[in-house]
């Protein structure tokens, strides 16, 4: 199982080496409802931690998706353009948003691990 870290805004980053795959969590997709559109960053874009990197839209809500850590976008999930429902069906798999080359891996320490995120979700209900 990949090493996955979470933000309080319900983004995740699945880390492998110096890169990571970013998306929104299962909790987030449930709260948003049917996802109808995802606006992704451009490949090559430099994003900073906690800055808006993507937008996810359901029928009645649009939410900013923040970068969990800083880095350069090295790939995006273009399939979401045609199949935004993948975010609902498989948020941690086919529903990924973009891949990030980390510029400051130490920022990962500020994120939650699986257990901490689960505990955090408990506090929201």
């Amino acid at each position: 199982m990949a090493n996955i870290r979470y933000t309080r805004d319900h983004e995740y980053i699945a880390i492998d080496g110096e890169a990571g795959t970013v998306g929104i969590t299962d909790h987030a997709q449930k709260a948003l409802g049917d996802i109808v559109y995802v606006e992704l960053p451009a490949v090559g874009a430099i994003v900073a931690r906690a800055e808006q990197a993507a937008v996810v839209e359901s029928v009645k809500a649009a939410s900013d998706v923040f970068a969990p850590v800083s880095g350069e976008v090295i790939a995006i999930n273009s399939a979401l353009e045609k199949q935004p429902g993948a975010v609902n069906e498989d948020p941690l798999g086919n529903g990924w948003f973009y891949r990030l080359q980390l510029s400051n891996p130490s920022e990962l320490e500020g994120l939650m691990d699986e257990a901490a995120y689960a505990a955090y979700l408990e506090t929201l209900d």
Partner: protein, 447 residues
């Protein structure tokens, strides 16, 4: 009061049910010293007959277009509207319904909007159109803002053929938003070269055809120049009937089209309400302002329509919305759609040809008037006339002779060196007698 159903006794019963001793106890949250204790200093209510008389007297002081030879245009045009259009838009279910937020009981409005969007897209030669904007000028403002969002640049270049009111509205918005505007000099002869102004900092060029001076413009090269530099071409029109005869903006490379739709279905109304037409390429649909109706299915699998892509709008996106717009011009869009359905392809094209033929006839008649020149080499149903002397005074003198002969350019652009120019529009409503009256009035007024 005839609009208020309650009797005095009913009001007392209702106060009892509410548990309020007096009606004023329900207004107790208003600070005591700010409550009005006296009636407003305004007249008491009037019967329907009294209202009709009071407003009828005001109306009677105005010269209605239908009562005189009438050649005023410049962004609003006198056309005949079939009686059935006004009858249909006064149906209660169209007139007194709200924005279709409950689609199950608003399919009438939603299907009309879907049909309207399709007609607008066809007419402009574009891929998608929205459910309308306030009017042509505000549509043009929104088009510039949309171009800035798409290009991520903040500089608009305005053609010297753009209606001055449209240019001013864009300038006001841009100044407030901190965006840059470059205005080309006023260009009566359609001879400007905008291409030289376009570089990688330009977001969009806004050009009108037929332009405010009446010249149909070939914008193909301008479109190419825009696209070479990653800028967008916004094509504006103020006379929708011209699209029945002239090449569609989409066919000449427009990226966004913003136009005034008043000509089809909406009366002159002294300037409003009118109808903003707004169309764009499919790739930019998520940056479009305004409402959109879209096709879908209901739970029983039947075709139906809903407002869609509303995440672009203010009630969802708030400060990140594409625009702050809530209302469109729904009833005017309905009138446009009905009128255009009645015209159809064959009717619109014929209407446009009649407009053009009448204008050609008039231009030839005026060219023979001493001290009067038609400046346009080409035009649709409106052209610029150069007279000897002060155009505004001449227009006033013609009005005194019972002819509304056009718009003096100085009304739009005072102190700009255009004091001897008149814009003259000629539509299908003008007869040979009207044209003869204009020629006679002009000969009398200009001498």
């Amino acid at each position: 009061m005839r609009f208020l159903p309650h009797t005095h006794e009913e009001r007392l019963d209702m106060l009892g049910a509410v548990g309020a001793p007096t009606i004023d106890s329900l207004f107790a949250a208003i600070p005591v010293d700010k409550r009005l204790t006296q009636p407003l200093n305004l007249p008491r209510g009037k019967s329907e007959a009294e209202v009709a008389r009071a407003l009828g007297r005001m109306a009677a002081k105005n010269t209605a277009a239908d009562t005189v030879p009438f050649f005023v245009g410049c962004g609003a045009y006198k056309h005949h509207i079939p009686a059935s259009v006004d009858h249909l838009i006064q149906r209660s279910e169209f007139l007194t319904s709200y924005t279709p937020y409950q689609p199950e009981i608003a399919q009438g409005t939603l299907q009309v909007l879907f049909e309207f969007q399709t007609q607008t897209a066809m007419l402009t030669g574009m891929e998608v159109a929205n459910a309308s904007m306030y009017d042509g000028s505000t549509a043009a403002v929104e088009a510039v803002l949309m171009a800035h969002r798409i290009s991520r640049r903040r500089k608009a270049v305005l053609s010297g053929g753009l209606h001055p009111h449209y240019a001013q509205a864009i300038q006001t918005m841009s100044q407030m938003a901190g965006d840059e505007v470059v205005s080309m000099p006023w260009d009566v002869h359609a001879s400007e070269d905008i291409s030289a102004q376009i570089d990688a900092s330009v977001s969009c060029v806004v050009a009108q055809t037929p332009d405010v001076w009446g010249n149909p413009r070939d914008l193909t090269e301008l479109a190419n120049a825009c696209h070479r530099h990653g800028a967008l071409l916004i094509v504006v029109f103020t006379e929708a009937v011209s699209l029945g005869l002239l090449r569609a903006p989409g066919a000449i490379g427009a990226d966004i089209v913003a136009g005034e739709g008043q000509s089809i279905g909406t009366a002159l109304n002294f300037g409003g309400p009118y109808l903003g037409l707004f169309a764009a390429r499919q790739t930019h649909v998520r940056q479009m302002p305004g409402r959109l109706a879209g096709e879908t299915k209901d739970a029983a699998g039947r075709r139906g329509f809903v407002l869609t892509l509303s995440t672009r709008e203010q009630h969802i996106r708030r400060e990140k919305a594409t625009s702050n717009i809530c209302t469109n011009s729904g009833l005017c869009a309905l009138a446009f759609s009905i009128h255009l359905s009645l015209l159809g392809e064959v009717g619109l094209r014929r209407l446009a040809r009649v407009n053009h033929a009448n204008a050609v006839k008039l231009a030839d008649m005026l060219a023979r008037v001493p001290n009067v020149d038609v400046l346009n080499r080409s035009f649709f149903n409106e052209f610029t006339l150069r007279v000897k002397g002060d155009a505004a005074a001449i227009v006033e003198r013609m009005a005194a002779r019972g002819v509304l002969g056009g718009v003096p350019v100085s009304r739009l652009l005072p102190n700009a060196g255009f004091d001897n120019l008149i814009l003259v529009a000629n539509t299908e409503v003008n007869t040979d007698d009207d044209r003869a009256a204009l020629v006679a009035a002009l000969e009398g007024a200009a001498s």
